[in-house]
Symmetry: D4
Subunit: 164 residues, 8 copies
């Protein structure tokens, strides 16, 4: 997409399926984003460079998703003063519990806003990124309002269907 506002980095191509609903949400919101495969451990220079240059390219929010000893979001936060969101990828022998602790327990001074393990957290990170974008773009705010209304309606419909 041209002029992405959200930069999503994955530590590994294999985490892409966990990002599916998040991407769908961003498309519905009409917020341009890009997805990059950048590993904090395997391509640290590229990850650092990407994070450092993101603001200059018009990116407003960075999202890092990685599994196991998940350092990606923290590495982005180390190299950029943009808001950084972290998604602990599910999977592996410890089910993403390792990724959760490696993402959320950041030391003072370098925050990573962390969301739930796996695709559930990915969706929420995308939505939260929109809430940040909405600080300056009223139409995104309207999209959030609509999203929440639709979500409420869906729960109400399920309730109504069960009790009809």
């Amino acid at each position: 997409m041209a002029n992405p506002k959200i930069g999503i980095c994955l530590g590994s191509k294999s985490d892409l399926p966990q990002l599916e609903n998040a991407q769908k949400l961003l498309k519905e919101m009409g917020v341009p984003y890009e997805v990059r495969i950048l590993s904090a451990h395997r391509t640290p220079g590229r990850a650092a460079e990407y994070a450092s240059g993101a603001r200059g390219r018009g990116i407003k929010v960075l999202i890092g998703m990685a599994g196991v000893a998940a350092h990606l979001a923290g590495a982005l936060a180390a190299h950029s003063d943009l808001p950084v969101l972290g998604i602990p990828a599910a999977g592996g022998p410890l089910s993403g519990f390792d990724a959760l602790l490696a993402t959320v327990q950041m030391p003072p001074g370098v925050p990573v806003a962390t969301f739930a393990v796996g695709k559930m957290g990915a969706t929420n990170a995308a939505l939260f990124a929109c809430q940040i974008i909405a600080q300056t773009e009223p139409e995104v705010q309207q999209g959030i309002v609509d999203y929440r209304a639709a979500m409420r309606a869906k729960v109400q419909a399920a309730d109504a269907e069960l009790n009809s």
Copy 2:
């Protein structure tokens, strides 16, 4: 403070000490904030009302800090479409591990950006809130840049002192 931009809610007065560094940081940044004692469980109506009314009062970011089955940040997120940050309070027999899971594992559609357990996470939530405020206020962005430079300098000074 007049015209607070950040609304910090604590589930209990006893969590205040864990907020100390965070408050100091916000004062240094010059970002007006307010601290409220509002319990998701004991005063749910007031918490809901506070969250619902926050945007109208000029609040741009909500922060909820609570311990054990920590629902406060989630309750704020349920009643407001402002960005909501969550701090799991340390303490209790399970050391805040319960608060961490109760804060971060939010279902899709209602994100709570979660930070580390205890005062470390409180500082980061405050800093992250500034990153959101900085979307529209350049002088806060400058404060963040300065904060990060000072942080770097402090680590370098410790390194230099150790090796002098």
Copy 3:
């Protein structure tokens, strides 16, 4: 059912299968109940309203079942002084362990009587709800006595079969 005495709330339609045995038990006991889909996070107002109005509608016990950062039972307890039972739903990357801590570790003053993770806990919550109803309805007490006798008989039959 007309005049339900137990109000069961699910945070999501997807948790319904975990409630199956519990519903069967309530039907056998002849205790009228209703099942609602009400999310503490997605439809907080409706959940609050439901909890607040439950006593007036003749409900005697509320049950909340939710997964991950499971706040539903706590939200019911925040809005009603009826006895509230909580069932941590199984599932998700952390297997319901998050839901357990988010349900059971309630702060003093707002109790949620918590049962085991998943369908096992759902059955027990239903049975416990009957024990509360039985405070005022002797025929439900008789149902409990019969249920326990049948349960004992079933274990004894399995033992006998194995040793025949």
Copy 4:
């Protein structure tokens, strides 16, 4: 106390301090109770006898508090069809986490309504016991209403004091 309605059993005398606030609450509520030291493992016969005979003595709710491999509440539930509440005692090398799992994860058919680890859970178990007693005693229900109002007022006062 004469004619106790709540029977509280501790697995060990050393758990008494964790019961302090709970006892204070019951006294304020005016609900007569008794406290017994009865171990599921060391005096199983007495525990079984106590549970079996409780209903006949006018007891309406049983509460079991024990630590480590906490079986007491489950043992009471095995020998009585009264509602049984379980409090995992804090302490020991595993901090009560073992007691929590040993109390809450009861198999289907023998529910133990479980509360938080330690004194926090003890207070809530006492309050929940009152909610059961209140099914048949309106003045206890009034006590609960008053308790909740006082609790709300206390949180509001803390909030007011902080913001004065």
Copy 5:
């Protein structure tokens, strides 16, 4: 089997498959045993009676296998001064981790010798029971020596095969 020396109690028929290898081992050892379905929670009286009467019937070792809030081995130990072995059954949302803590963390004075979660632990409990029986029966001791030799040979054969 006539004159069983080992009494194995299962909390539920559904745990039988986890006992398969253990039974095979006992048969190979020629140690007579019996398997009973006796629940600490559903048929506590029968379990207590079984444990109390075991010594009189010639039983030398009791084994209890149960899942979730696994109290069975502890209940046997409460009612008998025979050596009691505990096997935490695998399964359930928490994978047997709950059963492990509920079995091993017994309070002082009522030991339960605990083995690994699931079928692995069942095999070891059976072997350990033979080690106790072998205190008075030399041919069982010979069986253990043979079993260990065969086990060693099997590992050596696997090593040899891999390196041939």
Copy 6:
């Protein structure tokens, strides 16, 4: 002591205080024992030699107590076909939880009968060792009966005192 029947091995001198009650119990029971400092990792040859030679020296039960990656009991079991009991020592950053898993999760064929973490488990291991010794020594069996009676009496006395 002359002619010890129980061989207790500690991985480190620093674990001795956790063994205090256990030693007191064995003295009361009149069962001769010895305590050795033998590390599975630091003096593996001596540990192996000790375990191999134990039966020949009249030892009937081996007990291993160690912390962190606690291999001592397993090492004893690898080198002797005597019954081996394991006590996970409390302490260290992970509180003995590591020692518990490293002791109890033994692979099939090499059982270690495991007891609770720390001094509580040490007492129970000592008592269980007596239960094994009692297979061939009636006076030890009498000691166990007396111990259990005294334990019961103590709980009853605490109960009586509380209710006097």
Copy 7:
């Protein structure tokens, strides 16, 4: 292979599949290695002998992979002053979490360099072994440099493909 430089020991033949990628990597690196099935618990003498003799046979690094109460790497380290690497095998009811703690939490004086649970850790142990071998063999160092370059290229290619 002739003149192996790395000695890999598995506690069980069933762990072989988790070693597949590691073996592939060592072959690509051209570092001769051997794989042995040697159990710390079932064939302790052989494991000790193997470890003691390894240096004399030209082995430079030992690797131990085992599951559950994984003692193998620790046993190798107890019997050799060669560098010992440990891989906690995945699997079992506790998913390898037990193996991780039993491998990494070694007491001071007997280090085991531990890697991630399962095949991921196996690959890294193999690579790390090459880093040790490379201390004296420059061509292995070149292999590592090439491996890292290929790894980087692969991540970059995935990134490029996603964004093409």
Copy 8:
């Protein structure tokens, strides 16, 4: 020290006390080392630069010690093909358990040889670093042999003292 062979990096000055025994050991071994305060998150550029330049400066082993979401060792490994050892620092609300998972669960291709949480692991990392240095320096190998002999002697002395 001149010409350090081991480069130890701490994420924070506050972790220095956990390194005390490790430093003592290296001094006894006569292996020159340096200690640097370099944060993966606060001074990522300096950490990267240090790691990249280490080999050129004669460093043979890198050690990273950090707490909470401990990324330091992983960051060193990302920027250098030297062997990297990781020590999870103890402390914080989660006691170093977070640091353990964030250090050990590295993805394939970027190994971090991980040791126990806290000062125990620090000592072992130092000793293991010597084992690597010893690949090319026979006198360090002799130091290791002496260290192990002294360690054995100390355990034997404790054993002898206890049994004298």
